[in-house]
């Protein structure tokens, strides 16, 4: 990239440099807003802005007090606990159901494959406001609105499309003769599933599970409509904080969430690399 082909004129080289510059600016546009909240969360004053002291790197202008505030606030602690609990339960349901369904769907004998796929992926496409409104009507009739079960079921439904997609993709490179070989050699189907299919699609299953978890962990509209005060989650708490009382506690929470997403991202990249290796191995 560093060298331009010889036949490029000066203007073309300049144009190419311009494109590269734009690319870098866009990268900055993507990442800067996220980075900017990190120093702001250490603001000693209750504002969303850089104070003069902060710009002068005066240590007294920085403080950990917003982090301490999270730990001292029962509402935030409850929200954190709820987010993990609901996310965890929803992920288990979504992963089990999504993985089995993806295996079934990848079978060439499956009738109405395309239609069913479109239906199963629709929770990802339908605007959340519609989903949330419908769930509010239906779940109150079932008397599970305002309960953990209601929120968990709703989040599980929203998470399944991601599991179906990732497992489906993992199965794309899957060699079905392996199953036949395993069964043909007398292995039981359950044994075949765990010893033959599972190792090959595991990266897909795990990344699907991660997606499902993040979907629940990040979701606020359904929580807004379905959850009661006891089921408050982190995003719900942030949403009301941003609407009602803007203070840097939210920035501190946001910084922690950025850390979590960075961890998730690294896990995903690691899984992807492994998935590619496994698939390369089977071919």
């Amino acid at each position: 990239m560093a060298q331009y082909p010889r036949y490029f004129t000066l203007w073309q080289k300049l144009g190419l440099t311009g494109v590269k510059l734009t690319a870098w600016l866009v990268l900055l546009f993507l990442i800067l807003p996220i980075l900017v909240i990190i120093p702001l969360s250490f603001n000693a004053e209750p504002y969303f802005t850089f104070t003069e002291g902060m710009l002068a790197l005066n240590p007294e202008a920085y403080s950990l007090k917003w982090y301490r505030e999270i730990l001292a606030d029962d509402k935030w602690l409850l929200a954190i606990q709820n987010s993990f609990y609901i996310g965890f339960m929803a992920t288990i349901i979504a992963t089990v159901l999504g993985t089995t369904a993806a295996i079934g769907l990848s079978n060439s004998q499956m009738p109405f494959q395309r239609m069913i796929m479109a239906l199963l992926l629709s929770p990802m496409i339908v605007p959340l406001i519609i989903t949330a409104a419908g769930m509010f009507f239906f779940y109150t009739q079932l008397d599970i609105a305002g309960s953990y079960i209601g929120v968990i079921l709703a989040h599980a439904a929203l998470g399944t499309p991601f599991v179906v997609i990732t497992v489906n993709a993992a199965l794309a490179g899957f060699d079905y003769s392996l199953i036949r070989a395993s069964l043909g050699m007398g292995a039981k189907p359950v044994y075949t599933f765990f010893k033959v299919i599972m190792p090959l699609i595991r990266p897909g299953v795990i990344s699907g599970a991660l997606f499902a978890f993040v979907t629940s962990f990040d979701e606020v509209i359904v929580v807004l409509f379905l959850a009661g005060p006891e089921q408050r989650t982190i995003p719900r708490q942030m949403f009301s904080g941003l609407r009602e009382e803007i203070n840097p506690t939210i920035l501190a929470v946001a910084t922690l969430l950025v850390l979590i997403s960075a961890l998730l991202l690294l896990t995903m990249e690691y899984l992807r690399a492994r998935g590619e290796k496994i698939r390369a191995g089977t071919n």
Binding site: T49, F137, T140, A145, G146, G228, P229, E230, R243, I246
Partner: protein, 352 residues
């Protein structure tokens, strides 16, 4: 691996059981901010300490909509609610609240029976128990105001003398009254006039004159922030919000008492809650002489006489009760009847 999974499943199942079986927990909602903090300190925390019950204390930003959604869908999430009387009247007449048995209220600390100790308005509605007197007024920031110092309601609408944005709460309540007051209507005629088509048109016409200069917000708590960061030069809010900013953060804010619209806040019980007894018990405690006497910390006046024994004499003149002559009492009957239709007209006017 298997063992781990079973123990995990057990932990999860236990977690579920623990979450559903938690007894004696209820949810109270109020307005948050400094007011909420004072209620937490003087009502919620002492009650939890005294009885061992757990109260989830949530914020809401007023109105009856959320309450209505809960009661009508049968999905009741709140148990006790702190609301403005203009909302109380409507909520009570629409069956969204339980009737509160006023005769169970304990006498004041000085022995005065509750019926005499509370001010008349505090027990006027069968669904609630008065808590505090508060008011809505506007304030300006000495650092950002230009063109002098506003002192009347007309000044709020005078963008020629006092240029800059005005921040008002996005609802017809108070704004309609202010528009008529600024247009020269005497206080005692405001609500009669607002009940007519002409009066409403006149109020909207007055609001039209500053429409382009208005910043709308949804919750009182946003107001001090707007005044502080220069989002607006004159800002409407509850007096307690400004009081906290002036008192605790030394903000150069000045409150303008002319034409302030005062009202009561009441505790009430949500219709259909399964914690009604606990809710009554809490309200009995929260409206006691001592807990109420903590409210002036945020510049709201208690509704029972016996509380004043606990209040610093220097604070009493700073409460809204000292400025009643300059203000207008919000009409709860008017807003119960017209709140909805004016709300719609107001929204249409906003979109125009």
């Amino acid at each position: 691996m298997k063992k781990k999974l079973t123990s995990l499943a057990a932990a999860v199942a236990f977690g579920l059981a623990a979450n559903t079986a938690m007894a004696d927990e209820m949810t109270a909602v109020s307005f948050g901010g400094a007011y909420g903090a004072a209620q937490q300190k003087h009502m919620i925390d002492p009650y939890m300490e005294k009885t061992g019950h757990n109260i989830l204390f949530e914020n809401y930003s007023g109105g009856v909509a959320e309450l209505k959604a809960q009661v009508e869908s049968g999905n009741v999430l709140w148990d006790v609610i702190d609301m403005e009387v203009i909302d109380l009247e409507r909520a009570c007449s629409e069956g969204l609240l339980e009737v509160f048995p006023h005769d169970v209220l304990p006498p004041g600390d000085d022995g005065t029976p509750a019926a005499e100790d509370f001010s008349e308005e505090a027990l006027a509605n069968e669904c609630g128990v008065g808590n505090i007197v508060w008011t809505v007024l506007y304030a300006y920031n000495h650092d950002t105001i230009e063109g002098g110092e506003p002192s009347t309601m007309a000044d709020l609408f005078d963008t020629a003398t006092f240029p800059g944005k005005r921040a008002l709460r996005k609802r017809p309540q108070v704004n309609m009254e202010w528009a008529l007051l600024a247009d020269g209507v005497p206080k005692d005629e405001v609500y009669d006039l607002l009940a007519t088509e002409e009066g409403q048109a006149r109020a909207f016409a007055k609001l039209d004159t500053i429409k382009d200069d208005i910043v709308w917000f949804d919750s009182w708590s946003q107001a001090p922030q707007l005044l502080n960061d220069g989002g607006a030069v004159m800002v409407q809010s509850a007096n307690g919000r400004f009081f906290a900013a002036i008192q605790e953060e030394n903000k150069p804010f000045e409150m303008v008492w002319d034409g302030h619209v005062f009202d009561l806040d009441v505790w009430a019980i949500v219709k259909g809650t399964d914690k009604k007894d606990l809710a009554i018990d809490f309200i009995k405690f929260a409206t006691g002489s001592k807990p109420l006497s903590g409210m002036p910390e945020v510049a709201y006046g208690p509704t029972r006489q016996s509380s004043y024994a606990y209040i610093d004499e220097n604070v009493i003149p700073k409460l809204p009760s000292a400025h009643l002559d300059e203000g207008l009492k919000a009409s709860s009957i008017f807003w119960a009847d017209y709140g909805e239709s004016l709300g719609e007209k107001f929204n249409e006017w906003l979109l125009k």
